[in-house]
């Protein structure tokens, strides 16, 4: 009996050994790319010394955090990160839902597909390309806005790349232009899936188009909209580095309205060499970001467990 069991066990190990081999490269990558850096976060509590490395450097307690939160930067980057993301979530959702509803009205498949494809082109482009497109409009000496639009209204040229007050609008417009197509496609596929009988019945009852949208379309796509929004809210402490770094062209005079946690960490690490501050900000982002994921999920689970992420 014992012999049979032992044999079975041995066969068991042998039977999943190939699975171990299959999983090995992916697992190794996750360990290197994801898990070691997680432990590397302890660098935020250290006085980093290049020759000693992360784990060899001397402990420094909470000094890095003290320095970080004493600066004005900590408040600015937190405020910018959250406010921009909040604006992006709201505006992208409204635009994407509206355009998806309009797309659903187009009966010609050719046109519908054409519009969809065009709307997605900006989403396909890298942020570097986008920064060139923005530059064509905003360049101080040769930009379309300063040279063609503003003269029509008799307004003096604006120093776009050194006037922080315009950037909340510019970055929001650029972000919406580039990203909403993605959400739009998702919402459209959900609208297309709604049973046509609802609309037929509503039409028979004399419901107007607007009433149909309000009472059928929107309630039917609510679950997916909620899910995408929750997903975005859980990532509210992380921002699109490219948008905030490439599009304002890393211009120092704009930092007040363009600096977010991700750009702050990058500049601290690679441009200023201020590893203490940079790693403290990184740790701050990782921890608060993680808490936000758990909190949003817990709230969603309580209100509507269908939509919980995990």
């Amino acid at each position: 009996m014992a012999q049979v069991l032992a044999k079975k066990k041995k066969a068991g190990i042998f039977s999943w050994l190939p699975y171990m081999l299959m999983a090995a490269p992916g697992l190794l990558y996750l360990i290197v790319n994801n898990y070691i850096p997680m432990f590397g976060l302890v660098i935020a509590f250290k006085d980093y010394n290049f020759s000693k490395g992360i784990f060899g450097s001397d402990w420094n307690g909470l000094k890095n955090f003290e320095f970080l939160f004493k600066t004005e930067d900590a408040f600015i980057i937190t405020r910018n990160t959250i406010l921009y993301n909040a604006a992006f979530i709201i505006i992208n959702t409204i635009v994407a839902v509206a355009v998806a509803i309009l797309l659903n009205e187009i009966r010609s498949r050719v046109f519908s597909r054409f519009y969809q494809s065009v709307i997605l082109i900006p989403y396909l482009m890298s942020m570097v390309i986008v920064s060139y497109l923005v530059y064509a409009f905003l360049s101080i000496d040769t930009g379309f806005i300063n040279k063609t639009i503003l003269p029509v209204f008799g307004i003096e040229p604006i120093q776009w790349y050194s006037e922080p007050k315009f950037w909340p609008f510019i970055l929001t417009i650029v972000n919406t232009w580039k990203q909403y197509g993605f959400l739009c496609v998702i919402y459209l596929s959900s609208i297309v899936g709604i049973d046509k009988e609802y609309y037929e019945a509503a039409t028979l009852d004399g419901a107007s188009k607007w009433q149909q949208i309000k009472c059928i379309t929107l309630p039917m796509i609510k679950p997916i909209v909620v899910m995408m929004t929750v997903l975005a809210i859980s990532r509210i402490f992380y921002s699109d580095f490219g948008l905030f770094y490439q599009v304002p062209m890393n211009s120092g005079s704009l930092f007040n309205t363009t600096n977010v946690i991700d750009t702050y960490v990058y500049r601290g690490l690679l441009q200023l060499g201020d590893i203490g501050m940079s790693s403290a900000a990184g740790m701050y982002q990782a921890v608060v970001g993680f808490i936000l994921v758990l909190t949003t999920n817990a709230i969603v689970r309580k209100v509507d467990s269908e939509n919980a992420l995990f």
Partner: protein, 296 residues
């Protein structure tokens, strides 16, 4: 009667709005293209415009002179995209397959390991030190291939779900009964049934590699390894980069460079391939986006 008229008007209004929306998506590209085709002197006096007073190809002639830098950048981009996508598909599909197997006792544990990476990450600072100092990737081609892009939890979960839902357990079992090993079952049975998901994930990974400038920005100081995106990124701040680059076939007098137009022309050169290829993969791209929204 009235209702169908109502429906038609609504469709017409939709057409008008969507036409304007599409125009908004496209106009910046038109401006870029027209700017790149404008005569340098006109640009300096009138700026970038949709209707340039005088057209000129001088920016493109200049780029042609400097084409060795651009071609080199594209070769790097193509190499990284092809190698990265293939390796990514191999390790992602193998890994996801083991997660989908019920006869593998560690599949739940490994799934949890993937989940955690989607919720929490170490961020730039430790990642940078690991790759650049500990692993010595700085200023090597590996820096463009490995960090961040090779595999992600999201793709693993999508593939795992696909394997679970679309590869019938009975097929795998019968292959096992016939004496096929795990690897053989995977590439003879599972893989052929999974081509749609491989194509979709492969497309998105390829686009990510093609568009990536972040790894180059962080890990490369040696411009001979620059991908086309990194070259574009550098030219934005340093318009003379092409001429000054150690790769450039020095085109003589620097003061004749139509800098203002060249800026736009290089961007056109940078976005053209993906734009030309877009109609061919558009369908899979749209499908892939909706796939990502389905819970893994």
């Amino acid at each position: 009667m009235k209702k169908s008229a109502d429906k038609n008007t609504f469709e017409k209004i939709s057409h008008v709005i969507l036409f304007l929306v599409s125009l908004t998506s496209l106009l910046p590209f038109v401006l870029l293209l027209m700017a790149s085709l404008t005569d340098e002197n006109v640009l300096l006096s009138k700026g970038y415009s949709f209707f340039p007073a005088k057209l000129s190809l001088s920016a493109y002639t200049y780029l042609l002179d400097q084409s060795s830098v651009i071609v080199h950048g594209y070769l790097i981009t193509i190499f990284v995209t092809v190698v990265g996508t293939v390796v990514s598909l191999v390790i992602t599909s193998l890994f996801a397959y083991t997660l989908s197997r019920k006869d593998f006792p560690f599949s739940r544990g490994l799934t949890l390991i993937v989940y955690i990476t989607m919720l929490f990450n170490g961020g730039l600072v430790p990642t940078y030190f690991l790759y650049s100092s500990t692993l010595g990737l700085k200023n090597t081609i590996w820096a463009l291939l490995i960090p961040g892009l090779l595999m992600n939890g999201f793709n693993v979960m999508i593939m795992k779900t696909f394997f679970k839902n679309n590869v019938p357990e009975a097929v795998i079992e019968s292959a096992t009964v016939d004496g096929a090993g795990k690897f053989k079952t995977f590439y003879l049975i599972v893989l052929p049934l999974s081509l749609p998901i491989m194509a979709t994930i492969g497309l998105f990974v390829a686009i990510a590699y093609w568009n990536d400038w972040y790894n180059g920005l962080i890990y490369l100081t040696d411009s001979s390894l620059f991908s086309i995106q990194n070259i574009l990124n550098r030219i934005m701040t340093d318009a003379q980069f092409l001429t000054n680059s150690n790769l450039g076939t020095n085109a003589g007098s620097i003061d004749t460079i139509p800098t203002t137009a060249v800026r736009m022309a290089i961007a056109v050169v940078g976005l053209l391939p993906i734009l030309v290829a877009y109609p061919f993969f558009q369908k899979y791209f749209v499908k892939g986006i909706t796939l990502g929204a389905v819970k893994g």
